[in-house]
């Protein structure tokens, strides 16, 4: 399952992977921050292709690495190649009205659920590692980190879903 890497002068770089089942997948990085994704089904002559922007390619990448994406709720699972047992999930949630004005300390996020809020996006501004005194506002998008159970607890106990 090795990835073949070929330089294509004037175009970019091509990464090619032949899957266990014999299908072929190729990704071409084009200099102008564009990507082309090819799939060639085993035994078929003509490939299918899609052209992606950098943002689309990133989304696709996190999908393929095992994440679920819903409109504003999205999760990424991080796995390290050297620590294959360690799986960390990073999930985004939208803060609803009933949590507005309450702080992370007040809600006892970590004590109650085990999950940690690592970032908040508020009107396009990002706050990384918010302090316990940080108060939520309606519409904040929070990024929480933890394992699957902890994030479920977070959804139940804090967000009340």
């Amino acid at each position: 399952m090795g990835v073949r890497c070929i330089e294509l002068p004037g175009i970019g770089t091509k990464y090619e992977l032949e899957t266990e089942k014999g299908d072929k997948v190729a990704i071409i990085f084009m200099g102008s921050r564009k990507f082309q994704l090819y799939v060639l089904e085993k035994g078929k002559g003509a490939p299918s292709a899609a052209e992606l922007t950098a943002a689309e390619a990133r989304r696709l990448g996190s999908l393929l690495s095992g994440a679920i994406i819903e409109a504003e709720k999205e999760a990424v699972e991080i796995a390290f190649s050297a620590l294959s047992d360690l799986r960390i999930r990073v999930h985004t949630y939208v803060i609803k009205k009933h949590l507005a004005g309450r702080s992370i300390a007040e809600l006892q996020v970590r004590t109650k659920t085990g999950a940690t809020v690592v970032a908040v996006s508020r009107k396009g501004k990002n706050i990384i590692n918010p302090l316990p005194s940080f108060t939520f506002e309606d519409g904040d998008i929070v990024v929480a980190i933890g394992d699957t159970d902890q994030l479920e607890e977070f959804e139940h106990q804090i967000l009340g879903n």
Binding site: I6, P9, P47
Partner: protein, 379 residues
């Protein structure tokens, strides 16, 4: 001055149309040039002013060729490139040369015409591979590297024709001296050049533009073609920050090249020794010979003639380099013939590349489903 604005405006419209229908823009620029120039309505004359601006297009194109020269990666892929490149060169140059001689051109003219006949358009090959989504095919790799080989040949051909025009010995000495001097200067100034190219103000573009333009001055001073100086400069500057220079010179290259193509069309003169029959014969041969060399390369490298159809179809279009050779070295007759050759092959090539799948199906159907499994490119 206002003629240039008019020419550019027409090209802008044509570029929009050609993008809309995914067609190569070069033939449209040439046709537009012919229509508004000497052989057409004669509303846009080619004066010294426009000549200079369009010559910049050529300089930027060749600077780019030099910049993209990668002797190292060429050597790494040595055998494959050599095999496909040599087949492509031999088949097309020989057919082109023989045809030109038989059609009544003098030997030197025939050689220039054969060079224009041989050299495919890298720009068209690359954009057709990207737009027709063919990059997964092993043939795509062969095609792109064939274009790299052709770039090297372009440099050799330009050197050869330039050497032949004057005293070969002084020419070789002068060129070698210029090459050595540029490489040396760039090596000494490598750090400051890199630092300037990394700045975020207007200095990087100013440096790029000045460097490229100054090659025309240097060429005039030393009496060697500015085309060659531009290539030398590009290849030696690649050692500083090639990617940045490529990005910085791109807007200049794009605009001036359009002017170069349209003014090439404007100066075309069909009233001299140009013969439409000769041009038509050459066009048909040009299509046939690239398909033939493509099939040979397909056989040799991918073990399949069907692969060869893909290669032939994508390398069929002649474009910027054929025009460059005709513009620098060709007579009026050669330029007119090459203009027709470029227009015909690039349009036919564009459709052949788009429908290459159908073309392959048709051929394999004709041959009772010949095994068409394209093997991996020989490493």
């Amino acid at each position: 001055m206002e003629e240039i604005a008019l020419a550019l405006f027409i090209c802008l419209i044509l570029a929009l149309v050609s993008k809309r229908y995914s067609l190569p823009p070069i033939p449209f620029y040439i046709i537009a040039g012919i229509a508004i120039g000497k052989s057409g309505l004669a509303i846009v004359p080619a004066d010294a002013y426009s000549q200079y601006l369009s010559s910049l297009g050529l300089i930027f194109l060749l600077f780019y060729v030099g910049l993209e020269m990668r002797p190292k990666s060429l050597r790494e892929r040595g055998r494959t490139i050599l095999l496909s490149g040599v087949i492509d060169l031999n088949v097309n140059l020989l057919i082109g040369f023989a045809a030109a001689l038989l059609l009544g051109f003098r030997p030197l003219e025939s050689f220039i015409l054969a060079s224009a006949f041989y050299i495919s358009s890298s720009a068209m090959a690359i954009s057709s591979l990207v737009e027709n989504r063919r990059l997964i095919l092993p043939e795509a790799e062969t095609i792109v590297w064939m274009m790299v080989f052709e770039d090297v040949l372009l440099i050799l051909l330009i050197s050869l024709f330039s050497a032949q025009a004057g005293n070969p010995l002084t020419f070789i000495l002068l060129t070698a001296a210029v090459l050595a001097a540029t490489v040396l200067i760039v090596r000494v100034l490598r750090r400051p050049i890199k630092t300037i190219l990394m700045r975020t103000d207007d200095l990087p573009s100013l440096l790029t533009f000045t460097a490229v333009i100054s090659s025309t001055y240097l060429a005039k001073l030393l009496k060697i073609p500015d085309a060659l100086v531009a290539i030398i400069l590009g290849s030696s500057l690649a050692a500083t920050s090639g990617a940045a220079l490529d990005r910085l010179s791109q807007p200049f290259r794009e605009v001036f090249l359009v002017l170069f193509f349209v003014f090439f069309g404007i100066t075309i003169d069909f009233s001299g020794g140009f013969s439409p029959i000769v041009a038509a014969v050459l066009c048909i041969l040009a299509i046939g010979s690239k398909m033939a060399s493509g099939i040979l390369v397909g056989w040799g490298l991918h073990g399949s003639a069907l692969s060869g159809i893909e290669i032939g179809a994508n390398t069929l279009g002649r474009g910027e380099f054929s025009i460059a050779l005709a513009a620098i070295f060709g007579s009026a007759t050669i330029s007119a013939t090459v203009a027709i050759l470029v227009v015909a092959t690039s349009l036919v090539g564009s459709f052949a590349a788009r429908y290459s799948e159908g073309l392959k199906d048709w051929v394999s159907g004709e041959r009772m489903r010949a095994p068409g499994t394209p093997g991996g490119a020989a490493e």
